[in-house]
Symmetry: C2
Subunit: 309 residues, 2 copies
């Protein structure tokens, strides 16, 4: 198989793009794909300060790598979720990457800064699915770090597979409010929200894995131990079967949604948020989702402490 750009021996085949590339051409095309997503969706400009949420996984580190190469002003943000060894290893990977590239990184550890509320504690006390508690908590600390650090944009490493799985989940239950907000760029809708963008929304997990491998990026390979059995993984499996039978299906699903599907749902605008009475972040009600969660944890922890052993 030959590289479709330079006819050298291809090292990677991308069936969804009906293409194959040698290593230098793949790296060129990968960076260009990210750049095009940023430009065509008007995600951000060179003058803006970007906070890049990094988990230690391949997607966010590959993205940070590309953004730094493209000359953007980036700072990494690592939120330590307190998920045992998984968190320790991913923390170390992020710090090592930042040091190697000479890039600044901020670390928020939930046990310390989140009032001792690590994900397993919160999930256990509230009996929520860990991924649900984790999502609420991560969003809160991402938003807080972005606004308090004076950043213009919060950048996340959600890739095509993540977006397709999320879209499938939203569609299977026809959650029109979620469908209305599933976009690669979410403008700041409140003084304490910054713009949120996903430059990898058209880049597959496979592509970021190849990029990270080719660039020698050392990332945490393990899935989060809480993710086992998560619905997102079922959706990803279904979409992978579809993709195997019909390459390009995922890309068409997400791309065509942005073009055709999403506008049908975006028509109904969401009410503008209030200020959370406790933390001042945006809230649909008196408290934001995070403060509601913290309150629930406090209530249940007190009940458990008071209950007979």
């Amino acid at each position: 198989m030959k590289c479709v750009r330079c006819r050298a021996r291809a090292e990677v085949q991308l069936r969804a793009h009906n293409a194959a590339y040698c290593r230098p051409c793949f790296l060129f095309v990968f960076r260009r794909q990210v750049e095009r997503a940023i430009d065509s969706e008007r995600m951000f400009t060179q003058g803006e300060r970007l906070l890049v949420a990094v988990s230690g996984g391949k997607d966010s580190l590959a993205l940070w790598d590309v953004l730094a190469d493209l000359g953007y002003d980036t700072t990494g943000l690592y939120v330590g979720l307190g998920i045992g060894v998984y968190s320790d290893v991913s923390h170390a990977k992020v710090v090592a990457f930042a040091e190697r590239r000479g890039l600044p990184v901020r670390v928020v550890t939930l046990e310390d800064e989140g009032g001792g509320l690590a994900v397993p504690t919160v999930a256990g006390l509230t009996r929520r699915v860990p991924c649900s508690a984790c999502g609420t908590m991560k969003r809160h600390w991402f938003d807080t770090a972005a606004v308090e650090g004076g950043f213009d944009v919060l950048v996340t490493g959600h890739n095509l597979d993540d977006e397709a799985a999320r879209l499938l989940g939203n569609v299977l239950r026809w959650q029109s409010d979620h469908l209305a907000r599933q976009r690669p760029v979410l403008p700041a809708t409140h003084p304490r929200f910054v713009r949120k963008v996903k430059p990898l929304f058209l880049t597959s997990e496979y592509e970021t894995a190849v990029y990270a491998f080719m660039c020698g990026i050392d990332y945490i390979v393990e899935e989060c131990p809480n993710a086992a059995g998560a619905t997102q993984l079922l959706y990803k499996d279904l979409l992978n079967r579809l993709e195997a039978a019909s390459p390009g299906s995922k890309l068409a699903f997400v791309k065509e949604f942005q073009r055709t599907g999403q506008p049908a749902f975006a028509a109904a605008p969401r009410e503008s948020p209030n200020d959370c009475e406790r933390c001042g972040m945006p809230a649909y009600g008196t408290l934001c989702a995070y403060c509601r969660l913290v309150e629930e944890v406090g209530r249940k922890a007190a009940a458990r402490a008071g209950a007979p052993a």
Copy 2:
């Protein structure tokens, strides 16, 4: 396991409904489910004349059986597609069922009434996927038989699995015009169209199979030989995997689409159709889809006859 209605020994479990039934209660609930779909979607009334499209498979025969039991004025319509033994066997099953129940049936054989245009010939000459050619041809002969026979309603046996697979396909490509028209009731939009309804749209394939078995309905078990490898079967397989992991998913997908998703797409009305210049049926252009297909077949057959051997 016990019947959830009468506590007798259950014979069938329906995980999507979190229920199990003995034989009499299943038959009661099955008929009531069809009745409720007819009433809640205002599909038709007792005074109207129904043309029921029957393929010889379990869905359409089970539906015809229920409609006759409910006292509706039904006539069966069998369209012989000319797909070899499959068509011969399904024809015989339909005629036998009609005789046994003492119900009238109309038969249209494409080789005779369709100008010799059976599905394999058309698919071969036009190089279309057989299911695509077949769909266009069946729709044409269904519509023609309904309007020329003076019927009020055309009833088809599309079940929940069919509707979920079709919905998934429409969603994966975000075909908003198809999504706008995927409804259990399509009103007549032209003098030569009658209303089209799908009373089984919330009834699973499994339920119709159980009903047909319990009632001793003799149906053709084989899938159409052309369906092998069809995209619909891939979508059904994906949805079956989803259903196994999360029972009730298919029902929620189709039901919630009708409630929440569909209105978002139905907003943009379709232009009203013209009259086909050749056959007078509704057309978006000068010719209807069927007459365009027939014209293409004629052109290609002539080219083939004129080409050197």
